[in-house]
Symmetry: C2
Subunit: 231 residues, 2 copies
Amino acid sequence: MKKKKIYEGKTKKLYECEDEAELVQEFKDDAVASSKAKSHSVKGKGALNCQISAQVFRFLDSYHIPNHFIRELSDKEMLVKKLAMIPVVVMVRNVAAGSLVKRYGIAEGRELECPIIEYYLKDDERDDPMINEDHIISFGHATSEEIKEMHRMASKINAVLRAFFRRRDLKLVDIRLEFGRLHGKILLADELSLNTCRIQDLQHMDHGILDGDNKHIQDLLYEIRDRIFLS
Amino acid sequence: MKKKKIYEGKTKKLYECEDEAELVQEFKDDAVASSKAKSHSVKGKGALNCQISAQVFRFLDSYHIPNHFIRELSDKEMLVKKLAMIPVVVMVRNVAAGSLVKRYGIAEGRELECPIIEYYLKDDERDDPMINEDHIISFGHATSEEIKEMHRMASKINAVLRAFFRRRDLKLVDIRLEFGRLHGKILLADELSLNTCRIQDLQHMDHGILDGDNKHIQDLLYEIRDRIFLS
């Protein structure tokens, strides 16, 4: 079914299919949180993040949030719709972590009264610099209407997933989202997994905020996966 | 008239007055563009930027743009209203320069179709990181309404000053603005001079974009001042 590889990133590969409107998204075992961290492989991580991603996309489907997921193909591959990707990362934050701590000196773990939404330009060479709506429009990456739609969708996805994680004794710290266009509509793309969500385990608050840099994440991967799969 | 010094920055000092509702703003001779550049003194620069600032504030008055300027006191001092300052820099860009070039690789001198407005947190220790509306609200620096008002005022100030400079054969490349509160109203504060505006001399386009780092700026200071004072 897979044909030419058209993309390989830190956590995923994308392949063309027989059907030109679809792609195969394959999850890699590399464990990388930040773009600067050295990547190291964790056996089974690709499959685990593929399963979590599929589960979360199905959950968002049930809330009528349009996304690129079609179906799972194997333990680490999913079939997705081919979109014209918008080179912007939409980051939604509920708790201070990562660059919010480094850049502004906010205490890690501080609850934010309202979610903060940030935009980053996907640009490896420049280390994904932060941008705003005016930049996105000026650089021609999306229209004002598309940005408003991504913002609305990001808010809704965050609200829905916060509740989803909360019911599983997990707190959604922040989430990075990517979007693309199909027939003039904006769809959620990329993955929704432990590569793109920071979480806190409310049953083990002492473990801190879990991302690729956290030393407890390896032990907790399967436990968290199992909790995500609880209905 | 001047009493205690309450602030000293790279280009200005602020003093308290007899009247507690007012401050004396004194312009220094230090020539500094970016916060990282080493400062060096240029005799007469303080006076020149004080005069330009006063002239531009008076011009904005005539467009009913509320600001802190009261009157000139000497060649390098002006009396201003004491405001509760908002620790945010509002940057309006018409032409790519400075951090827009460095951060996103946009070609220097590229005309922007629409002005880009950016917000920066005033935080010397962290080198004034870029922020967005959500951060400003979350960190408690201004309300959503105040941000909208600063945005509206910044757009208007930019439009009015672009035309003002254009009539004097000068192009306004970008401008950094600071605002404060007085009796629940937002007023433009700080200075409006060659310390805070980047310009291009349309009579000498080969000189490039003029800011503190530009080698031609010393020769052109008085010529530009004289043109700004043309009615």
